[in-house]
Assembly symmetry: C2
Amino acid sequence: MEPRSGCPINAAVEVLGDRWSLLVLRDVIFGDRRYFRALLTGSIEGIASNILADRLVRLVDAGILTRGTAARGQRARYSLTESGIQTLPIIYALGNWGLDWRPGSDELRIRQQLMRDEGPAFIEELMDELRVRHLDAPPKPHDGSGPFERLDAAYAAAAEQEHVDQR
Amino acid sequence: MEPRSGCPINAAVEVLGDRWSLLVLRDVIFGDRRYFRALLTGSIEGIASNILADRLVRLVDAGILTRGTAARGQRARYSLTESGIQTLPIIYALGNWGLDWRPGSDELRIRQQLMRDEGPAFIEELMDELRVRHLDAPPKPHDGSGPFERLDAAYAAAAEQEHVDQR
DNA sequence: GATAGTAGTTGCAGAATACAACCACTCTTG
DNA sequence: CAAGAGTGGTTGTATTCTGCAACTACTATC
């Protein structure tokens, strides 16, 4: 596919501008789903297997994911590249906009709200953690738990609070 | 269309996740194209008239644009709503990613680079200017030129520099 | 009243997408 | 070593989306 223009916004849209690619990346990043089955069955939107297969090929071709060497029928692990990790600000911006301007379930909105509350530096922290998980980067010296764990903990606490509020 | 899930990221993707919607918004925001013909002929990617008509209807239905009252055949002006203005961070994130990870023409990349150089506060400034232009918000007391003019001036200067460099 | 310009609509062909069923291979378990 | 579950897909078919060209309805200008 030759690009329709030399505009960097268009270049990004040509790779990521469809109904599934960014959702697959969301599940890889936030759901830590690294295998075909995990992505297929874990997708709350219910992606079809051929669409998932097609998008994985495209994302690998675009250099956003890498596919571990595995023959047919073997478990192939997908990892983010640096360019894949750097789609996080895009996903974050989309999530914030959706949170503000579109309806949605409260449970799924909490996480986005918590992430926003953490401030912009937190995105960098998440990206560093993704480098450790996907690029085998050396982990930064870090005493406490990682940013994903903090988000999980905050989410659990908020969900608990929601539960308390309902009573 | 009922949403496929309550996820805010999915909610945004369902409205903006296609090959044209975000490019139309880009042209409205950065090209200040407010009329059908301007969007149709000004699109460097060459959008077809029925696709543009369809996307404008969808963006209006989604509350991202408003359409000035005009009968068929009459000049109808499209304006951004507040939710439309707040898609700017998404477009900015996409442009930055495209700049870093995809090829593109130098001329069109310069503008994205300049915008990034201005820092995050500049995005807020651009959004304020869009509120003046599209929501008829009172302009902020401001001595110099607006942010779009500054971007234009920086672009002109950079383009001139490019021209000098080539000699 | 002709002409150019406005904002679309219509018809049609080809591409992309979605859904369900099926396939080939491997790994585990008895 | 045979059965069964689990892996990552492929295939077929129907539907939707997209792109191109031509056309329509209306308005403003000369």
